[in-house]
Amino acid sequence: MSGRADAGTVQQARKTVEQIKRERNLGRTPISACANDLIRYTQEYQKDDYLLTGFPTDKLNPYRPKNTFQCLAL
């Protein structure tokens, strides 16, 4: 606790208390519900997740190793 106790410090301490009160007043859901939401989201978007499932053929991967192209100028 700092030695300087003026109206500013009181104001600061009051703000801290109000902040915590605000945080306490939030509605909260248990982890089980949140975990299930995360799981459901994953299952819904799994098919769009190419890092997860890979590409059906390598040609669709925009970062596939490129074949070098050579031609002769005649």
Partner: protein, 388 residues
């Protein structure tokens, strides 16, 4: 639903009419008559501060107890019914070489192929990720360009760092685009992170001066600032579905804070990390986020549960995490470590699936491409690598 004001208010400010009387929930209230004296304004204030501090501590303890109750089952248990991840076929596909010193930050363009990167020696380069060509290169008048961002339109980039500013540069194929550089944000210490918010005209920055701020790009004026961190801010992020009114920030005070953009207020705060939070990223669903820290762990926090959900750590992992991002479905969490490796985690089962090797120095930044086809990592080895 809110608690009745404690009678503390009626002691500290005599002008205020006494409120509903001593609250039964506050243990300190019953002790008040003995402690507060009216002899001297200073004594009164000192006691008020102490009483408020005690009330704050009491409330915090209650808050922690409520959060503890929510941990009914660990997420790993809920995820048991899921199939374990099959073999992931992620490999290094591109190396972008061109920086001459540590690359500190990178960002993807929404066109999913262009990348902007910034480095310690002041160079900012715009690359085409598919071809590895450099499309633009500019030299900033400052070293340690710690942050860079691509505007949603793809026509502009933002960058800054040790100059305490964030400047925007419109991209064009004219000779010297640096001429058009404009400074937008100004902080009182280094700028550590930046991102465009919803459009090319709003810029969100975080700084070593422990504040975040939103700026109007056209006028360069500050629209809102956010005070609350008690240490340097190292990272900010906005939800992928950028329609909400919140953003998150994390930093040296080991807390991650959730802010309301309209009011500038901190709406939620999360703790748990044992050292600086270096990076944080929203889960694609917008209701959770992951953080990476100097304590070598990543953590998942959920906004609706208002608490930490799980920790991604292993005894064998000792190096700081400097970049995290999710895959498109959120199932995979990528983490870039100071031991030069990328850890690929199953975010739901909380196990590490894969390690990606390649970089030759610590990883400073990691981001998934906008369509989720690749991740990009930037490193102190002056290279940028794309993995897909």
């Amino acid at each position: 639903m809110s608690e009745p004001d404690t009678a503390l208010d009626s002691y500290v400010e005599e002008e205020k009419p006494s409120t509903s009387g001593v609250s039964s929930t506050s243990a300190t209230a019953s002790k008040m008559p003995e402690l507060v004296t009216f002899n001297d304004g200073l004594t009164r204030n000192l006691d008020a501060v102490e009483l408020l501090a005690r009330e704050a501590e009491d409330l915090r303890r209650k808050l922690d107890a409520e959060r503890l109750k929510l941990n009914d089952i660990p997420i790993q248990q809920a995820a048991e019914r899921l199939e374990p991840l099959s073999q992931l076929s992620i490999k290094q596909r591109r190396i972008l070489k061109g920086h001459a010193s540590k690359v500190l930050c990178m960002d993807w363009s929404l066109d999913k192929r262009h990348i902007v990167s910034s480095s310690q020696d002041g160079k900012v380069i715009v690359w085409d990720g598919f071809t590895t060509n450099k499309e633009h290169a500019l030299t900033m008048p400052t070293t340690w360009v710690m942050a860079c961002a691509y505007a949603p339109s793809g026509q502009m980039i933002a960058c800054g760092g040790l100059d305490n500013k964030c400047s925007v540069v419109p991209l064009s194929f004219e000779d010297d685009i640096l001429q058009k550089k404009r400074s937008v944000a100004t902080h009182t210490s280094y700028m550590s992170c930046c991102t465009f918010l919803r459009s090319d005209n709003l810029l969100l920055t975080g700084s070593g001066d422990s504040t975040c701020a939103i700026w109007d790009v056209e006028s360069g004026s500050m629209i809102q600032n956010f005070h609350g961190h008690t240490g340097d801010v190292f990272a900010v992020d906005i939800p992928k579905n950028d329609t909400g009114n919140i953003f998150i920030s994390g930093g040296a005070d080991r807390h991650a804070l959730v802010w309301d953009i309209r009011t500038g207020q901190c709406v939620q705060s999360f703790e748990g990390h044992e050292a600086d939070i270096n990076t944080l990223r929203f889960h694609p669903n917008g209701d959770a986020f992951a953080t990476g820290s100097d304590d070598a762990s990543c953590r998942l926090y959920d906004l609706r549960a208002d608490r930490q959900v799980c920790v991604y750590e292993k005894e064998s992992i000792l190096f700081p995490v400097n970049g995290v991002d999710f895959s498109v479905s959120g199932r995979i969490l990528f983490a870039g470590y100071g031991d030069y490796r990328v850890g690929v985690w199953d975010s739901l089962k909380c196990v590490r699936q894969l390690i990606l090797y390649g970089h030759e120095n610590r990883i400073s930044c990691l981001r998934t491409s906008p369509d989720g086809t690749a991740i990009c990592t930037a490193s102190w080895d002056s290279s940028i690598r794309i993995w897909a």
